[in-house]
Amino acid sequence: MEQIDAAIIGGGILGCFTARNLCRWKLSVAILEAREDVCTGISRANTAIVYPGYDHVPGTLKAEMTVRANAYFQTLCEELDVPFLRCGSLMLSYGEQADKVLQKKYLQGLQNQVPGLKLLSAEEAYVLEPMLAPGLHTALYAPSAGTVNPWQLGIAACENAVHNGAHLFLNRKVEAIHKVDGGYVLETENGSLFARGIVNCAGLDSASVQEMLFSPSVRIVPTAGDYLVLDKSVAPVPSRILQYEPEQKGKGLTVVPTVEGSLMLGPSDRENEIDYATTETGLSFVREYSHRLLPDLDLTGVIRSFAALRPNPQRTDGSRINSFSIEHPAPAFWSLIGIKTPGLTCAQELGFYASRKVAAELGAEPNLSFDPLRKNIQSVHSLSFEERKALVGNFPDYGEVVCCCEDVTKAEVLEAIHRGAVSVDGVKRRTGTGMGRCQGSRCEQKITALLAEVLGVPESAIPKDGKKSEIVWGSRYDTL
């Protein structure tokens, strides 16, 4: 049986950051991920905001971590070579109820020491964002808010963990856990594994993973939300994150100018949903509220819609959860259960927190040769003409444009495959192919062909995204 020190169940952003941080100790570390790739769950579909930290009850771990994570985010993104946009945010009130909420958040933010926080008059807010609908009361301005591409950040953390010696076991769904002498045995669909310690980062399944061994303490009650994405050609668009604070509960809307240059709108709020399917009512809610908040926004520029699932944690004893629900049901067993917003913001903090606890319990020594740096796939799009010319001269594949909407070349796609992409969406997550206005209708065929060629399989074996999602069924040439 394979033996390791620390097993991480789940390769979402939290699992990847836990792995990265566990490598700061002299431990053998492995991520066990059920899917064929990392960051395909909640970490793929969320609002992508790096929160400033005024939303949380002062004194909680959540409040403290969010403010610290935000302050450190630029450095983190430099270490991991991931784009980060500190665009600032405006929380918007159009009524008296919402004014009170903003006032409360403002005071809370001051207590949490959120930098630069200001309550703005409507006039001041219109100067910053002239597109806002008339009738604004007040706005809470947080210059430290930002946005990051969540799956890029998670993939970067995973690559950095592997670079520091962590193992990544894909297609290894954990099906049962047994307590044995000195640790745990994890049964997976591809064989068992012994680990001295476990960090459960299984996202929507984190409660059921913990219940493989322990009695329930926190349950996850998922809700769903729908989003729309507008093409980067749409203009004008707001340049900051907008959070429309509703007068009635549950009818808010967030607008995010993403690092890719597109505009994301959402989410709607729906109950008791269990799959990543959008609904008509959810999508029309987002349209309607977007139009209400930004009457001049060109909603004909929609290029994509998607749904997200919130892993809402609820204590089985009915007590309220004010902070992150981090469970420690037994020695060297930690669970990050139902980590929703701001789990992306705090991924590094949470990963470090869990690792430090586990490392202490396992009596591990610090690993002084830990290397925090990771290089992203070289993208041509951000280069100057001269830089790009030199690169194309040295590496001819950089001259061949594969995705014409997002300007991604063959060299980038090949590098993504080399780094672990096995599906069309895996390439998309690593390079941005298919994210643009034609949504892959012109490059998908080239990408499936490249995947097939490099992986040495027929094109009919190339999935779009996960199991049983093959794009073509066969080719007349397969049998030749």
Binding site: D226, V229, S233, D275, Y276, A277, T278, T279, E280, G282, L283, S284, V302, I303, R304, S305, F306, F385, R388, K389, V392, G393, P396, D397, G399, E400, V401, C404, C405, D407, T409, R437, C438, Q439, S441, R442, E444, Q445, A449, E459, S460, P463, K464, D465, G466, K467, K468, S469, E470, I471, V472, W473, G474, S475, R476, Y477
Partner: protein, 295 residues
């Protein structure tokens, strides 16, 4: 830096005929660039007949028409760069082009934009549900079937009864696939009568008017859709393993977005307006080229 008098972006029917007519009119410094391997734009993937009735007096297939264009191109000394992406165009009358192993700046006097069109995708439609594998645009399906010889699925539903939708419906039928239906939101098919008779009637493909897709079902592969009758509001679930989106073309003008309307820029072919008939696209492209050169 490469210099030319006339830069033509796109070697589809419009781009080639514009370049060739400019050549004939005495402009001998022309660069014609296209991202595709072969010339002709969308023509090589249109295996059906129906091209060139006005110009050649008979019905050619897309590849035959493309071959004629390509012959006319070969009779000139136009510098033709296939597999070349035009990345950007600047006010200074320069463009950046990228090819395998080379990135270049091109200086020009006049520019003919002949970049064709792109298809509307499912992302732009108000269709809820999941986004599994098995959803293709009509042109993408056409390329995969006709040029890459791939098998895309067995039970096919087609959204949109324009020429693209009707032609791909027949294509699937000829491939031995089961086309469940063509769905059309209007009360009448939206393509040409000729295609309705040859594709829908001749292949006995069911067509359902005043009907649209509201939701996609399936994880992994698509397993069905919900459709809605726009008259009665009635909904129905239809199982399918492939959904073809054939809801129209959008002129591809991203390269010149933000340039305004400079006097050196001319647009021909589908990037100017969507042409149903290649002959009209070609005829107008030639006219516009003459105008461009006499300036």
């Amino acid at each position: 830096m490469i210099h030319c008098e006339l830069l033509v972006v796109g070697a589809g029917a419009a781009g080639i005929s514009a370049a060739v007519s400019a050549w004939k009119a005495g402009c001998h410094s022309i660069l014609l660039a296209d991202r595709a391997v072969q010339p002709g734009g969308i023509l090589p993937q249109c295996l059906h007949e129906g091209f060139g009735i006005a110009t050649f007096g008979k019905e050619l297939t897309g590849p035959e028409y493309a071959a004629k264009l390509s012959e006319s191109l070969q009779r000139t000394d136009i510098l033709y760069y296939p597999e070349t992406e035009v990345l950007s165009i600047a006010h200074e009358k320069t463009a950046v082009i990228s090819r395998r192993g080379a990135l270049d700046q091109v200086g020009f006097e006049k520019l003919l934009l002949a970049t064709g069109s792109r298809e509307k995708t499912i992302g732009a439609l108000p269709i809820a549900g999941t986004r599994p594998a098995g959803i293709f645009t009509a042109g993408q399906a056409q390329e995969r079937i006709n040029l890459l010889h791939q098998d895309l699925g067995q039970n096919i539903l087609i959204l949109g009864s324009g020429d693209l939708g009707m032609i791909i419906a027949r294509r699937f039928t000829l491939e031995g696939k089961h086309v469940i239906a063509v769905l059309e939101q209007n009360a009448h098919y939206s393509g040409m009568a000729r295609n309705y008779h040859r594709c829908i009637e001749a292949c006995r493909i069911p067509i359902r008017f005043r009907t649209t897709v509201t939701e996609v079902h399936g994880t992994g592969r698509i397993c069905g859709v919900t459709i809605r009758n726009l008259e009665t509001g009635e909904r129905e679930q239809i199982p399918c393993d492939t959904l073809i989106i054939a809801v129209g073309l959008i002129p591809e003008r991203e390269l010149v977005r933000g340039l305004g309307d400079p006097d050196w820029l001319y647009s021909v072919g589908n990037c100017r307006q969507i042409y149903d008939i290649v002959d009209s696209a070609v005829a107008e492209a030639e006219q516009i080229t003459r105008k461009a050169l006499s300036l």
